[in-house]
Symmetry: C2
Subunit: 150 residues, 2 copies
DNA sequence: ATTGATACTGATACTCAATATCAATATGAA
DNA sequence: TTCATATTGATATTGAGTATCAGTATCAAT
């Protein structure tokens, strides 16, 4: 029995006149399995273990496709690099990102969401999406900067 | 009479054993004058009109210096590129960014700030800074996508 | 004003993520 | 099975950002 996301993806591709390929399936699978913040390079490297012929360009192309289709979204790290996460059956959420170990903690807050809409309305701004990231140190890394380690 | 920011900058440099140079002054000036979201490339191109010898590396170095000193901060655009804005006598604020015309509207909301602290505490996360960007369409560009124009 | 230690600059070369190109291939409707 | 065409992977290329380093500007001490 096929899982829901694959079926939704297949239907999307069909509607767009696009094709369902092994590579696209592999990459979607990866995102569905990944706990968090998978970078394109990382995805490429990991998937190559199973499919050594998988090209870099295909990974980038597919991530862009998934993003445009609304099935995945970018997470930006503090150093400017970024990763992806899938959006299947995941409610909207924002991120707290540890500047030491890069752990990503998800949070969501209905009051903040509501305030955002109020603020937008006040400026006659039509919000489409947002990004709310809090940078700092996670429980494990503690309030003090990491010592020694680069 | 010298303006405040230049004096503060000079004192910072002195305290760090760094030197006040023509280039650093030019770049700080640029940020102080710019309305918003000046990209490194843009700053370089514009300043070259007056100072054709100004190097790319110097612009990047100086922006990094200003950022580390706390005199400037990055704004990230939706396409992943970024710009800078100075922070002299500007209270903390976040941004609404128009996806059509790239206009940047500043906002701030004490309640949101407070909620962020609450959420962080709940996760034993020590917040250092944050970034809260709402993407959408500004009053001028209206709620519908721009037509024709790339 | 001159000197001199050293921070700074600009040119160049380089890195590396991301993109464009294109011949070969896989997909899926007929 | 056929075949138009979307897709792929290899390759070349781009472009933002960085490292290097010889020459230069700054500024404290004289």
């Amino acid at each position: 029995m096929k899982s829901q996301p694959h079926e939704v993806f297949r239907q999307y591709l069909e509607a767009q006149g696009l094709k369902l390929t092994k590579q696209r399936t592999e990459i979607l699978d990866y995102l569905l399995r990944a706990r968090d913040h998978a970078t394109p390079e990382r995805i490429h490297a990991d998937l190559r273990a199973k499919d050594p012929m998988l090209g870099r360009a295909t990974v980038f192309r597919t991530l862009l496709l998934l993003e445009k289709a609304g099935f995945a979204s970018k997470i930006l790290f503090s150093d400017g690099s970024h990763g992806y996460e899938h959006k299947f059956a995941r409610p909207h959420h924002d991120h707290m990102i540890c500047v030491d170990c890069r752990e990503v903690i998800e949070f969501s807050n209905a009051t903040i969401e509501r305030l955002q809409d109020q603020i937008s309305r006040r400026f006659q701004f039509t919000p489409l999406w947002h990004r709310h990231e809090i940078f700092g140190r996670c429980r494990k890394c503690g309030p003090k900067p990491a010592q020694g380690v680069k």
